[in-house]
Symmetry: C2
Subunit: 311 residues, 2 copies
């Protein structure tokens, strides 16, 4: 993909690659229909696919440094992109359950448990989480023989298993959701810490695993990680601000819910204007981390887009 494409078209192209790969992964499983249906439903919602786009964009951003073509870097990172989207989707399915955040609308559609019941929604989430790791070990070949299959080396795949498990596990996303559920967040510092676990950890992982799969050095991976840490924080602040200001239709989920549920948010602690300024600062730091290592590609533009988005 040319760097000259407008960002929207560039991300659209990545989404097309990711969606096709996810369909291929689902088709390869041989799951009983009773579980295949809710898994497919959860995964096929019209999401932004931010995390897997970050994976592929990070792989492209390091391609020149490791002397491979951008398309080769993307192909190497595609299993990791699928894995991170499956983990993100499982977390939404479980977080929406009545026993957790009890939400009925997600990505503009009824949530998985509303359609299939709580039991199958729990199992669909479990299945997505499990298969996310499976896809890193068993990458299904494309049906057509049109393009060469790039299979990343086992040591890179195993490292990605470790990075994703740490980001999604009890010290990361699952831990952050438990802290959120426990309603123990009482100040802005605790809120930032909770979000670094709950949302930030997976956004960081999404970016670094792209660089790992492409074969980047530890130093370059660290720069991508620094970028993604601030990007993730800015992303969450913007989410919170949009929840205060948005509408159901625009967001594709229930607006104003955080405030009504008494959930801790950045606007609640800092006010809307200071929250916006904080998001701008985080975005600038994210871009500076890329610039320090002269990493090009589209990651800086993605940070600007994430800051300016309306949903």
């Amino acid at each position: 993909m040319s760097d000259r494409l407008p960002l929207g078209a560039y991300l659209g192209g990545l989404r097309t690659e990711i969606d096709a790969a996810l369909e291929r992964v689902l088709a390869s499983h041989g799951a009983p229909p009773v579980i295949a249906a809710p898994v497919h439903y959860a995964l096929s919602g019209p999401g932004k696919r931010l995390r897997p786009c970050l994976t592929l964009a990070a792989a492209e951003a390091v391609a020149e440094r490791v002397k491979i073509a951008p398309a080769t870097a993307r192909a190497l990172a595609l299993p990791a992109a699928c894995a991170v989207e499956m983990i993100h989707t499982y977390s939404l399915v479980h977080d929406d359950l009545p026993a957790m955040d009890d939400d009925t609308l997600r990505r503009g559609r009824p949530t998985t448990h509303v359609v299939y019941g709580d039991g199958l929604a729990i199992l669909a989430g479990d299945g997505l989480l499990t298969e996310a790791f499976g896809v890193l070990a068993r990458w299904p070949s494309p049906a057509s023989g049109n393009h060469r299959v790039e299979t990343p080396p086992a040591d890179r795949c195993l490292r990605v298993v470790g990075v994703l498990a740490e980001a999604a596990g009890v010290a990361g996303m699952v831990g952050g959701q438990a802290v959120d559920l426990d309603a123990s967040v009482k100040d802005a510092g605790a809120l930032e810490n909770m979000h670094l676990r709950k949302t930030g950890a997976l956004i960081r992982a999404a970016s670094t695993i792209g660089a790992i799969m492409a074969g980047a050095s530890d130093r370059v991976i660290a720069a991508i990680d620094a970028y993604a840490r601030d990007l993730g924080l800015a992303f969450q602040i913007v989410d919170d601000v949009l929840d205060v200001e948005g509408s159901d239709a625009g967001l594709g989920k229930t607006a104003g819910k955080d405030a009504r549920q008494g959930k801790p948010t950045f606007p609640a602690f800092y006010g809307v204007e200071a929250s916006r300024r904080l998001a701008v600062e985080c975005t600038e730091r994210a871009k500076a981390a890329l610039a320090a290592e002269e990493l090009d590609g589209r990651l800086a533009e993605i940070a600007d887009w994430s800051l300016a988005r309306q949903k």
Copy 2:
């Protein structure tokens, strides 16, 4: 461990190794206390540890063929043993939820959701499943420097990730539980198929991953797999028979529940006596698969013990 130990003492020794390793894994995570507590509770119940014992016993059974010491084989297989027990435990925590089998007693104690609530039980299960894969990528070193750390090669670890994901995923354990929840099992063939997915797949994987980690050939791995397929079926039949005949105190879980819930069981389709005969036949086939490859160790005795157990 000497082959001359009585089986009970042998399995007790394996359990001690496994429990110590699981404690080390939990301690390495840095999870917030709110999630560390239910994870620890779920994992520390007085279970049989059948699956991780199979992993270590399978590693020992192939040790001579790959020309390594039994203790080395066990050490190589220990991360896989921890992973399979964490996956088994997560599945119990989720299956016991009100939205699934709604059980309040497990391993002689209140189930995790009874103690911590549904939300944290879901998250504890999610965390255990995630960290199960993580442990294959990031094996924590023992605190003491007394023994050399055996780290299996990345390609074996990644293969184990794939085997466990397939066994636990939508075509395996999760798929089997979905079929069970869907109450679509109407005959003995469908029941066997459901159990091969729901219980059998993970017991098979538990055994083969021990052989994989120890470095066995594909032919030897296939023999271990054949053994474990029949062992797993016999195990489930015995479980069903014990549910008909047992008491709560003896089983450590609610007895007679399958029948009261109208759950499909082997005794319901075949009667108790024919079910027992079927379990004996499966056990004999399991042992024959080992004998055909002249695999020694304790796997045959484990099959006999599983058949004769009272809980």
